[in-house]
């Protein structure tokens, strides 16, 4: 990295307040609403909502269609938290045979499986894999083209 392109280190993300209008925006013919009137008071911070524990939170980009049933599309951004202990029902990022994958962790008749959200891919028993949990997916960010 050149010093000229350094980026903010992530673990203590600065507050990125989204101005939250307390009064409804008046699109009046009578003139422009005063900006001061619309932006008094509180702000909302998406970091606060999505990043529960900054030191353990990582973002990742999804490739592939196997998780579409769970609302995870190709190109989406995952918010992954390593501080959460994986439980059945969680969507995980896991290291499987040297690859980094995202799957849902489920117990099927008492045995652990990695499941896809797509009928074309069958659940795989964890016992058949060289598998290690990397982190738990807390949320997915899907941006629409606008």
């Amino acid at each position: 990295m050149r010093a000229s392109e350094i980026f903010q280190a992530h673990p203590a993300p600065p507050a990125q307040g989204l101005p939250h209008p307390q009064t409804t925006i008046r699109a009046g013919i009578s003139g422009f609403p005063s900006p001061a009137e619309d932006y008094v008071g509180r702000t909302l911070d998406l970091n606060q909502r999505l990043v529960k524990r900054p030191s353990a939170t990582f973002f990742m980009t999804v490739t592939g269609d196997s998780m579409e049933g769970f609302g995870i599309q190709d190109g989406d951004t995952l918010v992954v938290d390593r501080s959460v202990n994986a439980k059945p029902g969680h969507i995980l990022v896991a290291l499987v045979d040297g690859e980094v994958i995202v799957k849902r962790y489920e117990l099927l008749s008492g045995r652990p499986y990695l499941c896809s959200g797509n009928d074309r891919y069958a659940p795989v028993p964890v016992s058949d894999l060289d598998c290690q949990v990397w982190g738990v997916v807390r949320s997915v960010i899907h941006e629409f083209p606008v």
């Binding site: 350094i6 280190a9 992530h10 990582f58 980009t61 592939g64 501080s83």
Partner: protein, 429 residues
Amino acid sequence: MTYPMIGLVDCNNFYVSCERVFQPRLEGVPVGIMSNNDGCVIARSRELKALGVKMGTPAFQLQQWVSQGRIHLLSSNYELYGDMSARVREVLEEFSAGVDPYSIDEMFVRFDGFDDPATLDLARTLYRKVRQFTGIPVCVGVAPSRTLAKLANRAAKERPEYGGVCMLTGDDDETRHLLEQTELGDVWGVGQRLVERLAIQGIKTAWDLRCADPKTVRRRFAVTLERTARELRGTPCIEMNESDEPRQRIMTSRSFGRLTGELSELQEAIRQHAQRGAEKLRAQQSHTRAVLVFLKTHRHRQDLAQYSPSIVAELPEPTDDSRPILAAAQQALEAIYRPGYRFMKAGVMLLDLVDAHREQLSLLDSSGSAADRERSERLMSTLDELNQKMGRGTVRLGVPRQNAAWHLRCAHRTPRWTTQWGELLSVKA
């Protein structure tokens, strides 16, 4: 009198471990990290050390192993290492009674208010949590003094029976056993020349020094060695930056007289620290490869917003020239500064030091011409001389110009997984 315990948390093969968090295929295989311009090896995994590859080995000498797929060499990714280091620090902050970063991969933690069993318990928690939250493996050494904590850390790293955490109380059999097996050269702050002089007096192990009469040690050797002897008994008397050890990194930091959120005051502090650091660097005839800048808010003022960022800026080439060091430090500060926070402390660390007189340096690492370097050397020694004669800070550098002509070769750098939106880890669905 009993003292609160001090812990030393040391990340195992830190740069390589950072890379492995995001590239599982690098686990268990020999990995080396190269200097700027991919010149030589500056960090090694355990497996690469086992192959006999030394620090500073020129990368081209390893090219055959690389093409055979036997080893992996990566360009240094300081942006990633800086971010991961800050995460480790933050986990430690969350679970301990306070953290003092000692280098990018070593941090002292405080256990004030915990008794011994609770301290050991907490040390094990730190060991587990850092690994889980950040993916970085660490070892933890705990003792009443920094010198003993260093030794405890080494034991934790080298002896599997400790499970990564070793606590020495200073007066138990375990401490004695360990000190008896520790050569003096491995004690924090005891240099090679001292080792030889001490051997003549029959002082050969850390235990010998511990048992020597402190006053005699002071009279025959130096007050700093007396302090080391006292530290080995478990009496804390060496502050973090007082140790005489030949430095692998240089840190200059200070708390502000009062909390400040003024960018100009922070800039002035960082300027002073960077200059002072560069002077120390030249005094010990080293060059630095990267600059870490950190800020800290007052963690006990919970009424104030907390923000303790840090960041690493890589230098275009290893240098002891105040100007690029200052420029990098100022840019780093601007990148992490946020208004609205009141800071208690600011500091600058110079990382990955190399001997200024190593020949490879000029051949492999530098982009500038020999004449440029010579001119900068002359300027810097004049600067130091003036400051020495006329008092520190007589001649200071102004705000440095931006050097736009930095062209680094970093062909094998991994993506900046944690700091660039365009370079996130891709996960297969």
